[in-house]
C-alpha cells in the first residue's frame, strides 16, 4: 500500500472512530436527558414534573374536571397505601389538597418512594403539583402511619376534551437501596 493511501486510511479511520465515540456519548449522555426533557415538557409518558410555583390564577368555574386517585404497591412493598378520596371534582385554576394514607405494618423502619403517573398523557403537562409527597422519600417507623399531602392545580388551559384525569402513584420500597448507598460512604 503506498504512503498516500495509508495516510488517507488513517485520517478516515480517525474520523470514523470519532463518529463511533460520538454515537456512544449520544446514546448514554444525550438520549436519556433528551427523553426526560421531552417527556417533562409534553407530559407524554404520564410524568407530571416537579414542584410548581403557584401564581395568581383565575378559577374557571364554567367547567369541572374529575380527578381520580389510584394507589399501587410495587413488588413486595407491604405498606398499606390508599388515597383518602377516590375522586374529586375540581375547577381548572383551583388549588386543591388531598391526602394519601400510608401505614408501615412491619416492625422495622422503612423508606418508600412514590412515583406518579398520569393519564390521559395530553393532560399531564397541565397538572401542576405545588406540594407532593412524591417529591421526597417517605420514611416510616415500624407500625407508624402517615397522612401524605398532595396539593395540585389543574391548569385553565387544559384541553376542552379532557373531563377526567387519573393520577396513579406507585409506591416503591427503597430501604435497601438507601442502606447500600450509605454503606458506600
Amino acid at each position: 500500500m503506498n504512503r498516500s493511501v495509508e495516510q488517507s486510511n488513517r485520517r478516515l479511520t480517525f474520523k470514523l472512530v470519532g463518529v463511533v465515540v460520538g454515537m456512544f456519548i449520544f446514546a448514554v449522555y444525550v438520549m436519556p436527558p433528551m427523553y426526560d426533557l421531552f417527556c417533562e415538557v409534553t407530559g407524554l409518558n404520564g410524568k407530571t414534573g416537579g414542584r410548581y410555583q403557584a401564581t395568581e390564577s383565575i378559577v374557571d368555574t364554567s367547567r369541572q374536571i374529575t380527578v381520580q386517585f389510584v394507589a399501587t404497591n410495587n413488588e413486595s412493598m407491604p405498606w398499606s397505601f390508599k388515597p383518602q378520596l377516590q375522586s374529586i371534582k375540581v375547577h381548572p385554576g383551583e388549588e386543591v389538597e388531598v391526602r394519601y394514607l400510608a401505614t408501615n405494618p412491619t416492625s422495622s423502619p422503612m423508606v418508600a418512594q412514590a412515583v406518579p403517573s398520569l393519564v390521559p398523557f395530553k393532560a399531564a403537562q397541565y397538572f401542576h403539583k405545588t406540594e407532593c409527597f412524591c417529591f421526597n422519600q417517605q420514611p416510616l417507623d415500624g407500625g407508624e402511619s402517615a397522612e401524605l399531602p398532595l396539593r395540585f392545580i389543574v391548569d385553565q388551559d387544559v384541553p376542552k376534551q379532557v373531563h377526567t384525569i387519573t393520577l396513579s402513584y406507585t409506591l416503591f420500597d427503597i430501604t435497601d437501596k438507601l442502606i447500600l448507598a450509605s454503606s458506600d460512604r
Binding site: 500500500m1 456512544f24 407524554l44
Partner: protein, 516 residues
Amino acid sequence: MAHGPAKGFSRWLFTTNHKDIGTMYLWFSFAMFLMGGVFALVIRAELFEPGLQIVQPEFFNQMTTMHGLVMVFGAVMPAFVGLANWLIPMMIGAPDMALPRMNNWSFWILPFAFAMLSSTLLMDGGAPNFGWTFYAPLSTTYAPPSVTFFIFAVHIMGASSIMGAINIIATILNMRAPGMTLMKMPLFVWTWLITAYLLIAVMPVLAGVVTMMLMDIHFGTSFFDAAGGGDPVLFQHVFWFFGHPEVYIMILPAFGVVSQIIPTFARKPLFGYASMVYATSSIAFLSFIVWAHHMFTVGMPVAGELFFMYATMLIAVPTGVKVFNWVTTMFKGSMTFETPMLFSIAFVILFTIGGFSGLMLAIAPADFQYHDTYFVVAHFHYVLVPGAIFSIIAAVYYWLPKWCGNMYDETMGKTHFWLAFIGLNLTFFPMHFVGLAGMPRRIPDYALQFADFNMIASVGAFMFGAAQIMFLYNVIATIRGKHKATAEVWDNPEGLEWTVASPAPYHTFSTPPEVK
C-alpha cells in the same frame, strides 16, 4: 512478501490476508448458524405438541434468547462480514482491506465473545432468558447473574462489528482501482458501504444501552427503574434506535448479493443501477426514523404512533423499487437456474412475502392484534431466513468456485435448495395463521387450537435443519473435490473478481487493474 501463506495454525491466528479472514468469518458463522439452529430445534421440539414435555419454561426462555442472539450476532452478521472481506477488495481491484491487522483482531475477538456467551448456559441461574431484545427491568433487576457476561459479550461483538465497518468504509472510499468511480462499483460494494455507515452509527448505541443496563444492575443508577425516576420505556427507545437499523444491516448486503447473482444467470445487466443505489440509501436513511414501530403498544401518544406508522409504511416504496428492478432484470433475459439463481429467486419471492407481512405490521391499529404474536415471528423469519440466510447461501454457491477452485455438484446443490425451501415454508408459513389466531410469542406451551400448525412447523424445522447438514457436506465436498472451475466459473459474469484465476491467488491486484 509475495510468498504463499504460512503453514499451520499460526497462519490463521496471525493472518492479515482478507481472503483468510473472510474464510474464518464464514466458517465461524456457519458453526454459529448450526448452534443457533440446535437451539431452535429445542424450541420446536417442545412446541411440537401442547404441554411441557421436554424442557422447563425457564430453560425454554434461555433457548429463545440464545437462538436470537446467536443467529443475529453470530451467524448473519459475521457471514456478511466474511463475504465483504473476501469480495470487496477483489471487486474494487484493491490488494487487501485498508487496515489488515485490525481486520485480524475484528475476527478473533468473536470466538472469544461467543464462547463466553455460550458458557452462560452452564452458569448458576442459567443463560440470559429475557429475549434477544432484553427489555428492562426483566433484564436488569430480574436478570440471572449471567447477564453481566451477556453485556460483556455484546460489547465485544459490537467492537468487532464497528472495527469491521470502519475497515470496509476506508477500503471502499480510498482503495478503489483508478477508473472505478462510485457509480461503477458493483452493487454488493455499494450495499456494504451503506451498511457499514449504519453499523458505525448504531452499534455504539447498542454499546450505550448495555452500558446503562450494567450501571443500573451494578452501580445503583436508575436509567430504566421507575423507583429512581427512570423509565423502562426509555430502554425500548434506545434499544430500538439501534435495533431497527440493525435489521437493515442484516438485509442490505443480501440485496447486494442478489443484485450480483441475478444479472449473471439472466445474462442481462442489472436493471436500474442508479435507482438501486438511491433506493438502498433511502432505506438506510428511513431506517433511522421508524424505530418505535416495535413499540406501538407501549403507551405512546397518538401523534408518535401516527408518525412511526407513516414512516414505516414509506419504507415499502424503495424496497418495492428494488424488487421491481430485480424482476425487470430477469425479464427478457436468457435464464438458467443453477443453484445460486434458485436461492436468489426464492429470495425475491419469499423476502417480498416477508415484506408484505411487514407492511401489515406497520398499520398501527392492526398491530395491536399482531404485536408479540407469532405473526411477527413469521414476518421476521421470512425476511431473515429466505431473506438474509438464502442470500448468504446463494453467495457461497456462487463464489465458492472462485474461492477454492472447484465446482460444486449441481444436483447436490439443487437438492439442498429444495429441501431448504420446502422445510422453511413448512416451518414459517403456518406461523402467520397461529399468530392471527391469537398465539403469543415466547411461550413454551399453548392452547389447543394452535396445535396442528405448531406440529407442522416443528416438522418443517427439522427438515430445514437436515438440509443445512447437506449444505455442510456440499461445501466440504466441493473444497476437497476434483471438478476444477475456470476463472470465469459462470457464463460471462460481470466483475473484477472473475478476471483472476480460480482459486483466487493469495494476493490479488497487487498492481491495480485498469477500469474503463
